[in-house]
């Protein structure tokens, strides 16, 4: 079974600064996907960024980028130029690439952006 670990229950960052959220996972699969989801106070789950395990290049979406270290099974999220609207719970999630398409989530990191 896959596990996803987020070791930072809460973090804070000053507006316009950069913050990195950590995530590690454990799997015996070679083909899989990794995700970061954002859950603001409205509670909707919003996809922030996605990484395919077979791609060596780190995914980037505007101010969001990941540092994917496959050998270390690490998948951290970097948020640049933090904005007040980035305040949310962030979940790291894993999906195997074959057979089962269920997402396994970490426990989440609550990020607060301070004005």
């Amino acid at each position: 079974a896959q596990t996803v670990t987020q070791s930072q229950p809460e973090m804070s960052v000053q507006e316009a600064e950069t913050v990195t959220l950590s995530c590690t996972y454990d799997t015996s699969e070679s083909n899989y996907y990794l995700f970061w989801y954002k859950q603001p106070p409205s509670r909707q789950m919003i996809l922030v960024i996605r990484q395919e395990a077979y791609k060596q290049q780190n995914a980037t979406e505007n101010r969001f980028s990941v540092n994917f270290q496959k050998a270390a099974k690490s998948f951290s999220l970097k948020i640049s130029d933090s904005q007040l609207g980035d305040t949310a719970m962030y979940f790291c999630a894993f999906m195997t690439g074959a057979g089962s398409y269920q997402l396994t989530f970490g426990k989440g990191t609550k990020l607060s952006v301070i004005p």
Binding site: Y33, Q44, M45, F91, Y101, Q102, L103, K107
Partner: protein
Amino acid sequence: AAGVIQSPRHLIKEKRETATLKCYPIPRHDTVYWYQQGPGQDPQFLISFYEKMQSDKGSIPDRFSAQQFSDYHSELNMSSLELGDSALYFCASSLQQGWGTGELFFGEGSRLTVL
């Protein structure tokens, strides 16, 4: 663009009652997933359907059942409700079980409160 629609958004029930949640996937999406998120918890996978057939099963209690209909909408039926069933229930949809993109699109969730 059309998103995943869930109804009702809020539902209050008494213990031992029955509740039904509905999910309307994004048009042309053929796969639906149900997740349960307890207070302060990460989402847990319950069950998924592909082309109206159950495709995967997670931690869904025996008191719960679900199905996907010919128009691809899905319903989650919960009977003999317990206080611990109080949670946010997410539905997500994808095309072809997320194959190729690994991306699920989440609805805004249905909040069930059991009194």
